[in-house]
Point group: C2
Chain length 153, copies 2
DNA sequence: GATAAATCCGACATAAATACTCGGGATTAA
DNA sequence: TTAATCCCGAGTATTTATGTCGGATTTATC
């Protein structure tokens, strides 16, 4: 019942990207360095984010990544789902029409799983990347000159 | 980001126990059979539930398990935490006084983790075992004579 | 055109967690 | 005494998580 490093690192990386992008693309190396994440691993994560259409890449020297759309339009849920797959705590098909789980009609725990899944979805979809970026800028301003943004979670 | 079989099976087992207990204790074999869970695995799960004080055991022939307190006083959160450990999606100590995570003061993802953790906690702690039992009885009444309560999730 | 800086891609490696299984000991009703 | 139970720790197979690596491709710059 834990978010993996993909989700944790990936979200931090995307906040970092949003924070450090001006016109040019931001390269993996610089994000990896600031966020203390291995370059090759981060490469994988960016691949996932690109496939999900959240960032676009610029190849070749001087290349890197940019947000594919404004941070206002990217939810934390978008990011985490791109990295982790669906965020359901239990993949219970009881409420789908396609392939409902065997015995779903006499199962009561499905109500529990649904409540948990809904709660998670509501939480992650109601936070936009832009809010994190904004908050991050506020914090950076008040910590002028302090150490880089490193957090293991 | 998935609940393991411990949580899933264990909650079903506990609903089953609550549903099938009269005066006597209910043995693992019967729960395992009705719920289609391996006996030896279920034994492990019941051990965890007992250590958490949610069930009590009666040893010897004719023994088994009983709820240690009324189903009204057992939340789904109690059950899942007994089986899975804490249910935090991210073990981020940023909001604790003890051992706060390095760099917590300049970390923004901590707000995300907190919202997710709170959402999960709220969801699981607001559902009581008694509600599941009640709902289960209602369903069983309307499915008179149908197959046993088997669901893989 | 050569070079260097980047992304891109798939495959591999290791470690950790999950999901069980098993054998034997302890307790107790009949 | 026997059989039905729970109790407990250890072991095992499988899957998932967490990276690493080598090389291909693209592109700005000299």
């Amino acid at each position: 019942m834990k978010l993996s490093t993909k989700g944790r690192y990936g979200l931090r990386a995307l906040v970092d990207l949003a924070l450090n992008c001006r016109e040019e693309a931001v390269c993996i190396q610089s994000i990896a360095h600031r966020q203390n994440i291995s370059e090759s691993y981060l490469e994988q994560l960016m691949r996932l984010l690109r496939k999900a259409g959240l960032v676009r890449s610029v190849r070749g020297a001087g290349g890197g990544y940019q947000l594919a759309k404004p941070a206002e339009n990217i939810s934390v849920g978008d990011v985490l789902r791109a990295l982790e797959g669906n965020l359901e705590a239990v993949d219970c098909g009881a409420f789908q029409k396609e392939h409902p789980c065997e015995g779903a009609d006499i199962c009561v725990t499905k109500y529990v799983w649904k409540r948990i899944n809904d709660a998670i979805r509501q939480a992650v979809d109601s936070i936009m990347l832009a809010e994190l970026v904004e908050e991050s800028r506020r914090i950076q301003d008040s910590h002028q000159g302090t150490v880089a943004n490193v957090c293991s979670k």
